[in-house]
Amino acid sequence: MSSFITILSRDLKLAYRQGMDSVMVVMFFVIAVVLFPFGVGPEANILARIAAGVIWVAALLASMLSLERLFDADYEDGSLEILILQPITLEIAVAAKVTAHWLTTGLPLIIAAPVLAILLNLPADGFAVLISALALGTPSLSLIGAIGAALILGARRGGVLLSLLVLPLYIPVLIFGVSAVDAGLGGFPFKSHLLALGGLLLATLALCPWVSASALRQALRS
């Protein structure tokens, strides 16, 4: 457990000192969403209808954008190799790094989402559902992305490769996330969608650290 806290605090300190990284992810998220009114036209009713989908897809891309550096920074300067050779369970180390990633990208996205909902004219009763759906969905995005980040270590053009690997796996989270918000807007019960998101989160929580850890060992075995 203490190794979880040690690694988490170091990663958060690194993120804090390079503060701009999480700011840039949120900026990408905001700018990506701001582009849509230019593309689709400024009419409020059109924007309101596509608001949930646009915000969710932008959140997906933003969190994936920052995943490439999750293990890459440590892989390049040799920290990863040393980390594997420590008497700690690697799965916990991976969980710590994923938590740090979520705190520096997932959380800021959730905080920025309501502002974007205003820009896209999302009706008021969709806000609470959007935030709770994002809160349940973004951690699993980080977890699934960790597998991709571990797999692409040392690969050429890792960023593009990562999006190829990870985006298909994001689709379930996207479907339930958007349908939760649409159900909330339509006045239908949205609990089932949120429960599905919660189920996905538990599944990824159990599976991904284990898969990422073995992918990391494999990457360093070469």
């Binding site: 701009m20 900026m27 700018i31 701001v34 400024p42 409020a44 820009l119 004219n121």
Partner: protein, 253 residues
């Protein structure tokens, strides 16, 4: 070669003199501005009391443009005349300008809801100010994206100059496109079209915002100068340690 008047120590001594005055003026103008703005001025016959938001929205918007112009000017000086303090002035101005732009957007939205019935509309003026906000954030992100501070200054200076094209767009957006946002009513050819009772608080608040900018700028400039010296001393400290090793090696090796 350090420009004679650009010497940081001389600047710091100058700042010590000006800063208390700037602080004093900020409070003075804020107190009088708020008094006139909230108490001693009438409500608008159409907009009612919401017109009081103008006394913070308009100065914030003016300052947003002023800060970006100042930042771009400082970046130009830094690039063309290699003026060491200009880079620091631009870097110190950016966060202040970004805050003013954010305030202009937020207060505008709070004014827009009662008047236009919506928090946000994709109107030429509002959108270009939103882009201005992104330009500020872009400048700050680029500025410390490099380990070598010098690279950061030069790259972000160029970005600031490129982004300057957005400032005239904001200024004239209300004239070029039919926007929901009202056209200029103070700084325009025929002289202000606002009644004196509302103009005085507006001018007072604008002066308060400017004094505030000067005050915080001086504080941030002193911080930036210290940070620059810390970076220089750190490099020298490491080189000294390296030299000591080589000297030691020289003696022994």
């Amino acid at each position: 070669m350090i420009h004679r008047f650009a010497n940081p120590t001389r600047f710091v001594r100058l700042a010590d003199v000006i800063q208390p005055w700037a602080a004093g003026m900020t409070f003075l103008f804020f107190v009088t501005g708020l008094y006139f703005g909230l108490f001693a001025s009438p409500a608008d016959y159409q907009q009612g009391e919401t017109v009081r938001i103008m006394y913070i929205h308009v100065p914030a918007a003016w300052m947003a443009l002023f800060c970006y112009t100042a930042m771009a000017a400082a970046c130009g000086t830094a690039l063309i005349w290699k003026h060491p303090l200009a880079d620091l002035a631009a870097r110190a101005t950016a966060p202040i300008g970004a805050c003013f732009t954010l305030l202009a957007l937020v207060t505008g939205s709070l004014w827009g809801q009662p008047m236009w019935g919506t928090w946000w509309v994709w109107d030429a003026r509002l959108t270009s100010v939103l882009i201005l906000f992104f330009l500020y954030l872009g400048y700050m992100a680029l500025n410390n994206a490099f380990d070598d501070a010098e690279r950061g200054f030069k790259a972000s200076a160029i970005l600031a100059l490129v982004g300057f094209v957005n400032v005239p767009i904001i200024k004239f957006s209300v004239d070029w496109w039919n926007t929901l946002h009202q056209p200029a009513s103070v700084l325009k050819a025929g002289g202000p079209a606002i009644h004196a009772s509302m103009l005085t608080p507006l001018i007072l608040m604008a002066l308060a915002f400017k004094a505030y900018y000067l005050w915080v700028l001086l504080i941030r400039m002193r911080g930036e100068i210290n940070a620059m010296k810390v970076r220089a001393l750190r490099m020298r400290q490491v080189q000294q340690a390296d030299m000591a090793d080589k000297v030691a090696a020289g003696k022994v090796g």
